[in-house]
Symmetry: C3
Subunit: 211 residues, 3 copies
Amino acid sequence: MPTHEPATLVVLDLVGIFVFAISGALVAVRKELDVFGVIVLAMCTGLGGGFLRDVLIGATPPAALADWRYLLVPVGAGLITFWYHPTLGRMERTMLVVDALGLALFSPAGALKAVDFGLGFLPATLMGMVTGVGGGIIRDVLAGRVPLVLRPGILYAIPATAGSAVAVLGLKLGYHNLPVTLAGAIVVAVWRLLAIWRHWQAPAPQGPASV
Amino acid sequence: MPTHEPATLVVLDLVGIFVFAISGALVAVRKELDVFGVIVLAMCTGLGGGFLRDVLIGATPPAALADWRYLLVPVGAGLITFWYHPTLGRMERTMLVVDALGLALFSPAGALKAVDFGLGFLPATLMGMVTGVGGGIIRDVLAGRVPLVLRPGILYAIPATAGSAVAVLGLKLGYHNLPVTLAGAIVVAVWRLLAIWRHWQAPAPQGPASV
Amino acid sequence: MPTHEPATLVVLDLVGIFVFAISGALVAVRKELDVFGVIVLAMCTGLGGGFLRDVLIGATPPAALADWRYLLVPVGAGLITFWYHPTLGRMERTMLVVDALGLALFSPAGALKAVDFGLGFLPATLMGMVTGVGGGIIRDVLAGRVPLVLRPGILYAIPATAGSAVAVLGLKLGYHNLPVTLAGAIVVAVWRLLAIWRHWQAPAPQGPASV
């Protein structure tokens, strides 16, 4: 949720929050929560990753608490899902693609904000990953399930981490904010979309687990 | 957990923490946790909402970490519940009413503290809601259940949000801290008590959820 | 995760993070998460307690985000567990003992860092306990189970709290950082190891819980 970026990026950022928020609201509908539960899961999913990052790097209050658009967008996404969830639920494939674009925007931008606050390569990359997947983790914890991103069957966090690393590396090499954000976003989007298309998965542990 | 308020409000604040802490400790007893689990759930429920707000608005360390009474009150509530939980469990109706008064005190005061830290109308109202319901959400996540406040069958967070909005609006219109806190608290308490009495619920989504 | 300590303590600190991280990774393997889930649970368990403390006392960004060794150690622990979990799972007894030593190092040192940031006796002791048990709580919440430390059958948090109290008290009485850390660590380690050996448990509530 960076604020010091060109208007285009703010719009893209709000689109990302909107899509993440809809994914949270759909989980709330499936879990049979009420309208307040739907809105809370929408806000946590849309804004939670950025909040986690900002609290960890000391950028408080988070940018989303200083700009009412960042609050109204997930509330709107929650209400739209509350009313039109049967339609949205049928658009799962489209949602997956837009979600991949949201992840592509969030992660590298989140990593660069961490660099702004003095973090090195590895911690900033980690913060980019947190920005991208943190909202979904909060969503799943509140919905009472093991976070989707930690379970086998989906390649999600590794592209987010790779794209964040690309963006931070580019910045440390002296390139400007905008091109390295775009380069990182392209890495995330292409890798994530290929993973959806080809059903790539992260490896799971082999052998029986001890009890 | 504001500290710069008159002694009466500090006492009421501690009463609110005490009641919230008992609700957390009762959940711990039901979940068959040990004495440490009971105390931790008491502390998280009594102090968690204020901690979440303070961490998000950058008011760290939270006031409760600078004043030992704010720590001893929930510990005491936990120990009392540990020993006398059968009696407390039978006072459910009384507990609901006192809990409504706790919510009435916490939410508007929490919203006004966010204004003190520079937040605008919408974010400060959100922080008031977080102050009121955050502790219960942490309690339920630690107890391994979907937060009560997100599930149908209870009108809880909407009164807290409305009362927070009234308090922040009053302050922005130039009224003093004390009258707007009271006005907000009355909105929360009346609405919440009516909801308990008349079994009001927040609306739930209509139609089958997609899977 | 203090940084202003002698090299010996940094090494011991990293050992503690390593052992905690392995306990998180083993839970992830049992829950059949993928490689990313294993690494995330390793990081959250190894670093989460210190992160919680640092966010609460306002020491952001946490020290672990300023020193890449603190990130690489839990990632390494996660990967080792990913590959060799059958062997590690069989070393449960050894792991319990090393975990007790990790707890002994983390809790008093965490409490003293809170004193550095201006906290009094009671809040600093609480922060020591949070440093010691916070990572395991985050691990269990992400793995979808009620935190082990809150459930009967294990005496874990009370030794951590006692050792933190000893360290803070010693410091307030004018002793130096190193001896009071050691005194606190010895209290935690001895009490915890005796609890493992003699199967000590914290008391659980008596009588039927109300529903």
